[in-house]
């Protein structure tokens, strides 16, 4: 094994570690971290990074949700209903992604991150204002 291969091996494990940590902490699969890391650090194709990310997310989400389930913070029925709508969308979204050019998909991903970042940071005050007005 060449030093480059060993470095890449270590990088992959570290990226996985950070992605899994974020998944457990924030309730997300960690793909938002993994996809840019694979593209920017390892130089993988956007399509392959996305497909690989989806596969890696499965065991991480499975073990994470099992931990929540044991603590009693998970209503399984809600997750099944959510997942039922989710699988239909996932199929359509993946087919659409595969029809797009790699460069376009990467730009789409970067744009998506900016929109989500703005949306998360803005509604905080909206939520605080909404709670009292509902009672009045």
């Amino acid at each position: 094994m060449s030093p480059e291969q060993i470095l890449q091996l270590v990088e992959l494990i570290l990226i996985g570690l950070a992605a899994g940590f974020l998944a457990g902490l924030l309730g997300i699969g960690g793909g938002v971290f993994m996809v840019p890391a694979m593209v920017l650090i390892l130089g993988m194709d956007q399509h392959v990074a996305q497909g690989t990310s989806l596969l890696v997310i499965i065991p991480a989400a499975l073990t994470g949700s099992y931990a929540h389930y044991r603590r009693g913070s998970l209503v399984l029925r809600d997750a099944l209903v959510l997942g039922a709508g989710g699988v239909v969308g996932a199929f359509l979204g993946a087919v659409l992604a595969l029809s797009l050019d790699d460069e376009l998909l990467r730009k789409l991903f970067a744009g998506f991150l900016l929109i989500v970042a703005a949306r998360i940071l803005l509604p905080k005050e909206m939520l605080r204002r909404k709670a009292p007005t509902q009672e009045v």
């Binding site: 890696v56 065991p59 969308g89 900016l114």
Partner: protein, 127 residues
């Protein structure tokens, strides 16, 4: 602060299916789990508490990511060797993250969530 939904109570059927479908489409298109849409949608639109939304999201991601991975896998857009190494790291990371989540308040979690997104967005822009 009052919370409209308590643990053990069932969430509303149609809003959950609709939120799932939207997040699933995003997941398949962008290769992410969809939790980034699932969690705020359940908190803001359905009124779930932050912890409940995150636990429900993580469980729904399992079938959503499985369908996406299958479609990408059939198109040979999955690196199985890289996936195996990422799994090793992520299985350790997810245990640490889950344990830490129960020691943090919902407000601190939301703040961590927001800051995390800004860092990634900047990395994609200037990376």
């Amino acid at each position: 602060m009052s919370e409209p939904n308590t643990a053990g109570e069932r969430g509303p059927l149609l809003p959950l299916v609709a939120v799932g479908a939207a997040a699933g489409t995003m997941s398949g298109l962008l290769g992410v789990g969809g939790g980034i849409l699932l969690v705020p949608a359940m908190v803001i639109l359905i009124g779930f508490a932050q912890h409940r939304a995150q636990a429900t999201s993580l469980a729904a991601i399992v079938p959503i990511a499985a369908v996406g991975a299958l479609v990408f896998g059939r198109a040979e857009s999955v690196d199985f060797g890289a996936a195996a190494l990422l799994v090793v790291g992520s299985l350790v990371g997810v245990q640490v993250g889950t344990r830490l989540m129960h020691r943090l308040s919902a407000e601190a979690l939301a703040r961590v969530f927001g800051v995390f997104l800004v860092i990634i967005a900047l990395a994609m822009l200037f990376g």
